[in-house]
Symmetry: C2
Subunit: 574 residues, 2 copies
């Protein structure tokens, strides 16, 4: 029970002190989440209230099933952008179909994550390499910022790639609204100032640094309130400023959305991508926070937690959610002890949905766009390009492909190409393994690369170390290398394959070894193996190769070398 | 010059003795190739003469550009089956479009192979693992045999998968022709007998075993002649036996086929598959024969050789060709010394195309079908299932997937799924590497797995050896394993990561190592590395990890263990 429902691990021992801390944290997070949830709904092309709906039941579901105590689940920027891209392919923004598709997308994501969790397939997410994720998030941040510029300018434009977004904006640039732009820029500047200057200012009025840091998280709410007051007082709607407008009050209805099988087929792949990216982002936040308090994150339980959150979002008219980075850090820093803080946050958002929506009528869309732009700029980090450039060309190339393709062709193609690039590059490296001729470091029993160390070798004995498991992609490469070396050294009588780095020999490589053994034997050269690992030895034994091989199997390379240099006779020609 | 045109390596030193041997071999191969070329054209859904056209210019092109001296290029069974599958998707059999598409398919295959060769990308073929090729060829053999049964029954049926073929035959079973069936079965029995009993018989009439073996290769021609005589003498056409019918006499016209870009798009992927499969089959024959006479096969030159052969086939109205196994072996055994034997064979086929076609009018299709069935049954070899089952589950699984999918869904999906399965299985294994706790083999400096050997360990020191390079797919796996071991051993002060099998650490794994280092340091545990390979050390140096790490880098695991057991203090908490 405690294994599958982590809530039972912490709820029974819950204390009054923890309650006070959770309540405080939830108040801070609620104030932060209200503008965020509205803004990310806007980013996903959905009505503002959907953002609120996606911030109630999912938080409660995660509280029950999730394994992180402080992760704050809800709408996040990258998943919202990916949702917009997926939904744009099946319905037009503003239609009921679009709304229904959003809920279906959440259900599919939730179902997929929960399935992976139940099947304990969390390791699949490991195939998203860190450079690909970094590159993808940076590119997404840029796409999100550009997609919000239209709201700042008061024009309409759409597109899923940078060229399309820019082209769309240029076409409609003539419709720009100066008041909207002024308002938007003012909010951006205020929010940027709040991130830097405001903490210092608040500390001067004798607040502690911690309190000041928490207070500035409310800056977006201040922006929201101020622009609501401006918009209603100065009738900005009449002056062409786009407002959020009427949104229904009350809680979302819980219902299973109607949908066709065709819709499921269209949304299945995007749902998988949104889930996996969201899961990887969320787990990395959860792990970081968990490590600070020595709390363990269970990868498979996280899949179930996030899966249930998305299922909950789907049946309450929401859209895909996941654990958000900035919100979780605020929750943690504000002192949240358990997921009860999230439950209280959900209650806060529910109250907002019931009572605050009339006030949101006057909220300018430019305010929300400004909130998003400032938030996502912190995602953009090109330093990964510089770091990987120095470290390894293939990691650099994977980042570059991900960033460029995401910007030029959109999120889905971008992340697919990134994953593909990292796998192809890995296979390519595996297919050309590092193969070293090794020699004895004199006075020791160690063997090292002849090109890097001062070592002893003999022309009659060739010691080769392959720094990779032998498998279909690289077996031919080894074969060519050995034949080349053999051809270059007429005195050669013994080839020792030092297997210390060979963790596996697959069937293709085994067939290649058999052929190498035969060829060498015909040339009067013995093939020996040394330092063969247990599992590899077992496999070679099973298939009878140990009887076929012309030479011997030595426990260590040193034994092989010392024994063979006593006897250069080689193998009899077969 | 000699590098890019291998013909210049052997032609200048050509002798009269070699000429005699090449002439003899070409005579044997020509007699074998005439019925084969007709039959494989039939298998590809093409008129019989196209088989002859594909056996003239390609042989000459390969003689100039190919690196094997004895490979016999021309139509082969598997490539013909794959061509039928590809062409069936773009045109109907018997139309001029189908004929033109066949030539375009050959051109595309040729262009692709030649391009790979010029770019020196021959290693890409290594991604076809041996089990996948074995499984694919076995399944193709079964598909080919079933596809020819219709000619034996004298009915029409088509389909690219086993279920479709069987269904097609069952539907038209009522149309079966008893004379056709009788004729077909007679030829099958004769050919099977020729393979086994005929050699013994010929030896009794005082022929040497070698001559007898070569003579029986002419059995298909005997079948062809006998059934032509029967069909014309007994007017089998009037009795409903399908004959090859009128075929134009003369040499193929050399012309660049007309084609649309749309056709190229449709045929591009099949062309790639046909080329790669053909190339892999051909190279394995070439290597086997080359090794017997110590002649080297250059992988990239082979691409150019087979590429030019297919280009030649394309401009002379042919279809995809490659090096055939049985024909090459016959060529070799008959004493062929150089590719001049193939040039003479091409001349022989050209003479046949000019003067023999009138006689082929009466050739029953059932005879050709029987020839194909007997030839491909030697391709079917299920023993690979048994061998891989014993050797390794993932190789077995890859074979099984390839065979089952090819039979059920056809050649293109089959080979794609096979390649995909072998890559996914490899990635899966890489993502869960073998990680061993190691201890000192007392009295030596060697460290071995604690579970397999009697070794010394200390509770304060954990020595872990990862038997795989560290990369994105397995970094998280290592992290979890270390944390689990750390949690289980409260006395622990030092973790030594023995890197003897780590050939590379990619960026994802580096970030994971940094996080492991931090986490261990917070718990007062030092992280050390031992036996780090040169290239890995260089990379760690470049990115500054060697300064971050809490412990030391030891040259050998023995040095690490002996030094650390003197000092259990561990690392200061950071």
């Amino acid at each position: 029970m405690r294994r599958y429902l982590p809530i039972f691990a912490w709820l029974p021992g819950y204390s009054g002190a923890a309650l006070r801390r959770d309540l405080l944290a939830s108040a801070v997070v609620t104030v932060m989440l209200i503008p965020q949830s509205l803004a990310y709904a806007l980013l996903a092309g959905l009505p503002a209230e959907v953002g609120l709906y996606a911030s109630i039941t999912p938080l409660i579901a995660y509280a029950v099933f999730g394994s992180s105590r402080t992760l704050s689940v809800g709408p996040v920027a990258v998943a919202s952008l990916m949702s917009a891209a997926a939904l744009g392919q099946v319905a037009a923004q503003g239609t009921a179909d679009y709304l229904a598709a959003a809920a279906v997308l959440a259900l599919l994501s939730g179902g997929f994550l929960a399935l992976l969790g139940v099947l304990r397939l969390g390791f699949l997410a490991n195939f998203l390499s860190h450079p690909v994720i970094s590159g993808f998030i940076t590119a997404s941040g840029i796409l999100i910022a550009f997609s919000q510029l239209k709201h700042l300018l008061g024009i309409s434009a759409s597109g899923e790639s940078l060229p399309a977004l820019i082209q769309g904006m240029v076409q409609n640039l003539a419709d720009w609204n100066p008041i909207t732009l002024l308002l938007g820029i003012a909010v951006v500047l205020f929010l940027v100032w709040a991130r830097s200057g405001a903490v210092t200012l608040l500390q001067r009025v004798s607040l502690s640094k911690e309190t000041a840091s928490l207070l500035v998280k409310a800056a977006p709410v201040v922006g929201v309130l101020a622009t609501i007051v401006l918009a209603s007082g100065l009738d900005l709607e009449g002056k062409g400023v786009q407002l959020v407008g009427a949104i229904p009050s009350g809680l979302p209805q819980l219902q299973w959305p109607h949908f066709s099988w065709a819709l499921v087929e269209q949304l299945a792949l995007p749902a998988v991508m949104i889930s996996v990216i969201g899961y990887v982002e969320s787990v990395s936040v959860g792990k970081t926070l968990g490590a600070r308090r020595r709390q363990k994150i269970d990868m498979n339980q996280e899949l179930i937690g996030l899966g249930s959150a998305n299922l909950a979002s789907g049946i309450s008219g929401g859209f895909p959610v996941t654990g958000g980075f900035s919100r979780s850090v605020v929750n943690f820093d504000a002192g949240a002890e358990t997921q009860l803080a999230s439950v209280f946050t959900a209650i806060g958002i529910a109250l907002a949905a019931m009572f605050l929506t009339p006030f949101l009528y006057f909220l300018p869309k430019a305010t929300l766009a400004a909130t998003i732009i400032v938030a996502v700029l912190s995602l953009v980090d090109f330093s990964i390009l510089k770091k990987t450039w120095r470290y390894s060309p293939s990691d650099f190339f994977a980042v570059l492909v991900t960033i460029v393709v995401t910007l030029l062709f959109g999120v889905e193609i971008g992340v697919s190409c990134g994953v593909l690039a990292s796998i192809v590059l890995f296979l390519y490296r595996t297919s050309k393994p590092h193969i070293a001729e090794v020699g004895l470091v004199e006075g020791t029993e160690h063997f090292r690369n002849v090109e890097r160390h001062q070592v002893m070798t003999m022309p009659q004995i060739l010691s080769i170390r392959v720094d990779e498991s032998l498998m279909f992609a690289n077996a031919a490469f080894l074969e060519e290398r050995i034949y080349r070396d053999v051809a270059a050294t007429p005195e050669l009588r013994h080839v020792i394959l030092m297997c210390s780095a060979i963790n596996e020999i697959d069937w293709s490589a085994l067939e290649t070894l058999e052929s190498i053994n035969e060829q060498l034997q015909e040339a009067g050269i013995c093939l020996h193996l040394s330092e063969v690992k247990g599992p590899v030895m077992d496999a070679l034994q099973r298939c009878g190769f140990l009887e076929e091989i012309s030479g011997k199997i030595f426990f260590t390379q040193y034994q092989a070398f010392t024994e063979l240099r006593e006897n250069f006779s080689g193998c009899a020609e077969s």
